[in-house]
Point group: C2
Chain length 376, copies 2
Amino acid sequence: MKALVAIDSFKGSFSSAEAAAIVAQVFRQYGIDSTGVTLADGGEGTSEAFLANQRGGRWEYAMVHDPCGRLIKAKYAFVPDERVAMIDAAMASGIQSVKTDVGFVNPVMTSSAGTGELIMAASRQGATKIIVGLGGTGTTDAGIGLMGALGAKLYDSYNQLLPANISSINLIDHIDLSEIATKRLQLVACTDVDGPLTGTAGAVQMFGPQKGLTDANLKDFERRFQHFAQQVDPINQGQLAGDGAAGGMGFALRLLGASVVPGFQMMSDVAQLADKIAATDVVITGEGQLDHQSLHGKLPVQVAQIARRFHKPCLCVAGSIQLTPSEVHAAGFTTALSLIQQVTDLERAIREGKQNLRLLMDRVAPLLLLLESKNV
Amino acid sequence: MKALVAIDSFKGSFSSAEAAAIVAQVFRQYGIDSTGVTLADGGEGTSEAFLANQRGGRWEYAMVHDPCGRLIKAKYAFVPDERVAMIDAAMASGIQSVKTDVGFVNPVMTSSAGTGELIMAASRQGATKIIVGLGGTGTTDAGIGLMGALGAKLYDSYNQLLPANISSINLIDHIDLSEIATKRLQLVACTDVDGPLTGTAGAVQMFGPQKGLTDANLKDFERRFQHFAQQVDPINQGQLAGDGAAGGMGFALRLLGASVVPGFQMMSDVAQLADKIAATDVVITGEGQLDHQSLHGKLPVQVAQIARRFHKPCLCVAGSIQLTPSEVHAAGFTTALSLIQQVTDLERAIREGKQNLRLLMDRVAPLLLLLESKNV
């Protein structure tokens, strides 16, 4: 019997790789072959997952500006043989940099330039294909900082050069991309959300508030973003899926020639997930909380969809299951079981996550073996 | 796919019959045929389970004396066609009668006579075979009250008739059973414990304290029980398995000619459990708490042993699982899963027991169906 393990990280309990190791360790005792696949969906940790699926990859480091303009040391994944780099935008422009003890840094003061600098660093290192994961960022600057760092020139209607930051946004008339540094690079933007740049599901209204936009500047930002999109993207006007990712970095990267792909799709291709699922007997997936958000394309549900395509049973393990059994089934899982198997509180459940996963796998493995004995 | 459900009651949550009904209801939605078997182990509820497995059985009622000599209405199961009755000793001599707000009734004042009276009532009703379940009683009188109620005569060494109660115990020299009312009856004593009358695993030392025996009278009782056993049972001296059941009623019934059988064995025979397990695809059993006590022959483990004999997968569901996965396996279960599947406290877990059982079965059923699809 062969099991494929593709479990998302359980925040505060264990990482995706730790989960796979625990399952493999337990299953081995039952004679079940277990292969772990490290996946990610474009959010934080995507470059780590990318590295785990590559031979000869390594971390590279560069000094870049964080959203507040402070120099920080940021890392990205680099695979020399293939001249490919994978960058998490969160490494340079992460949300942790814009949070203070008393609240958020004023969004007007923050910039995505650091992510552009990291792309430059990877290019100088020799990368010809650069993948950018767009989750976990703290900026809402429509990617203007990133554009500037890569050599885009922003002009007003008098053809005067503007500083490449959010304060210029309502003055921008056109952009000159003739001298951008990424011209000969293959750029890929990995999104973990599919919202457009503007509108209710966009970078400002949907994601602005969690990055410090207040009711006071939300309308102002939205209006300026709309103006910007009309000026520099007259055909699509920032309405393509993923344009709203990372406060508009998705939009900026697309303008710079990047192909925009859902993060899970990119990572599952890198990890050859479909081939691995086709060759296994059972799929184990999971995440901290299985709820209605999960149904909107979160990792375990994406895994389950592929498992269903290949008619493989797919078991979801979760700390908390908010879906009904029929919703669980409709999502593509054979079933879902909770790590929690006794009276406990939330804090303890998180603290004991690893041993609960171990115990649950110990309870599930004999059931999987039944499948095999029937098979004989 | 066919499932056999033999789940013990979950105290405070649901009865054995309710559990079977819940499982059947859920499984039906998945096309799994589910048969419930009501079992018991000689403890409280055994007559109810007995009745559930008989055609044409009914409750009969009789006025009897409770352990403290108060007249109460007690019931027993009666199957007219087969002239068989099943009595729970707890109905006439239950532990609830010897508990007060401030502690226990003095054990010297309590008597098992009521159980004898219930046997008499069943006999008058026409029963020729009377099964007595010995769990849940509150008396520790070596069954002397019961003997007296059935016509046994107790004499001292001067051949003087003694009152048939515990206060006579150290004066008893011999018993006259020539005129007992149960002579032509087939008596069966069902025990849920296999301890002897005396000794550390006996009626006094092991079970006396939970019925009100204090440190002060424990030694005294033990000594008198030993004397009694030597006088009236010189060969076995009260050391046979089950003699210690129900404060010594097991011993008394044996002296009166009863065959003593473990309750689970009797009930599983009545319910034709082995035949039913042989004809099923999977067995579902369970109890409130699966722990080391369970390993000493409690209902789910006995069910699992039979399932293993017939090579049937056996799933144990429990509110709380105190055994390790390997202990669970060694006990005969394929695996055990907890009803608890989320962060919760004990009170809520008990209150939500029924819906948790329903939910767990909803999560397990799809896994069982996998077995079937492999089978095709």
